[in-house]
Symmetry: C2
């Protein structure tokens, strides 16, 4: 059985990505990060999603991304904004996807997995530079050179099945594959129970996805 | 003053790299990792080197690279070999330089630093794939696309001043710049006091460097 490492945040995109990898018949190894994010309800969601969709292992890697600061998602002195702007938002975590992909690449090599799945999306996204197709292509080149496997002519492939889909298309794809989005948490400031704020950029994109897909939104919002 | 993040392991190469960056008049921010390596005497060495050469800050980022296993440097079930072979050795840590460079890139962005220095060397090295010039070029492309700074037309430059030097040339360069190699620890299995085994691949390369440079070797070896 071909193995794949799947980056799993606990949000809707990575859950859909995992379901796609499973539907391809891959043996999946889910990788999440405890990186000092304020919204650690997503880690409980990741565990629930991994159990529901089915993985051979789910690892949560702890690291202190907050120690280098610089993002509203890890730095207590920066607030999560409640509306979208034109620029790259303060919720951008410097080099986050590069860090995540690097760890996934390392684990894939240890497992002798052929692929790494990451649920980045360049359509309905927050404008983070490390979600763009050209960024992923550049990281693929790193993967083609960085590992012992690549020296042996068996580089690890970076798969991004959601990259060209709209948020509504992602929702429809996931529902076709049986994803229970009630288990997922997207909100940047979810409470300890996983209930969403409804106003941050992640909540806004998620809600629009269910609307576009004409599906009921199972998100639990907290009272404001 | 132009800022640079310098990856600092506590070994001779990264110490030399830091001295080169300082000699260029850069304000340096040293970054080390506590990644579950067996040879954590190198972290004490990194702190001593940072203090001796002079940095504005030295951060030690903790992460659980051992959780994904696969290397003699982090996995208790794999022994550090005492002689060099022809292949990539078991001391290779999967995706280590990619992980380290990713964090350095993130911190550089937060600091608004223009450069990241890494002491990789492709001449007298252990054959790790992520020390080759083509690997560094690929990571530079990632850096050119991954960050908010790069979107603003100010990408962070990855500097590798040692990449084409022999170990003896590195030693001579460092001594010219006043590096005290007695502070550095290269050994993969140094004891708690920082004394080297004298037989691992890192010890072998280091000793050959002092011989080539015709310099006294200040390394403290432990009795065998």
């Amino acid at each position: 059985m071909t193995k794949a490492v799947v980056l799993l945040s606990g949000g809707m995109d990575s859950a859909t990505c995992l379901a796609i990898a499973r539907a391809e018949g891959l043996e999946c190894f889910a990788l999440s990060f405890d990186y000092g994010q304020k919204h650690d309800a997503e880690l409980a969601a990741a565990a629930a999603v991994a159990a529901a969709i089915g993985v051979s292992a789910h690892r949560v890697l702890r690291m202190d991304l907050g120690a280098i600061g610089g993002s509203a998602l890890t730095d207590d002195s920066i607030s999560v904004p409640e509306s979208a702007g034109d620029d790259i938002p303060v919720t951008y975590v410097p080099a986050r996807n590069t860090v995540f992909l690097a760890f996934a690449l390392g684990w894939a090599e240890v497992l002798d997995a052929d692929m790494v799945f990451v649920g980045v999306n360049a359509v309905d996204y927050s404008g983070y530079p490390d979600c763009r197709p050209e960024y992923i292509a550049a990281f693929q080149r790193v993967a083609d050179l960085a590992t012992k496997r690549s020296v042996e002519g068996r580089p690890i492939r970076i798969r991004t099945p959601l990259i060209d889909l709209s948020k509504g298309e992602i929702v429809r794809r996931g529902i076709d594959l049986g994803v229970d989005y009630a288990l997922t948490v997207s909100c940047y400031q979810a409470d300890g129970d996983g209930r969403a704020c409804g106003v941050c950029d992640a909540c806004r994109l998620r809600r629009a996805g269910f609307e576009e897909a004409a599906c009921a939104d199972p998100t639990r919002y907290r009272p404001r």
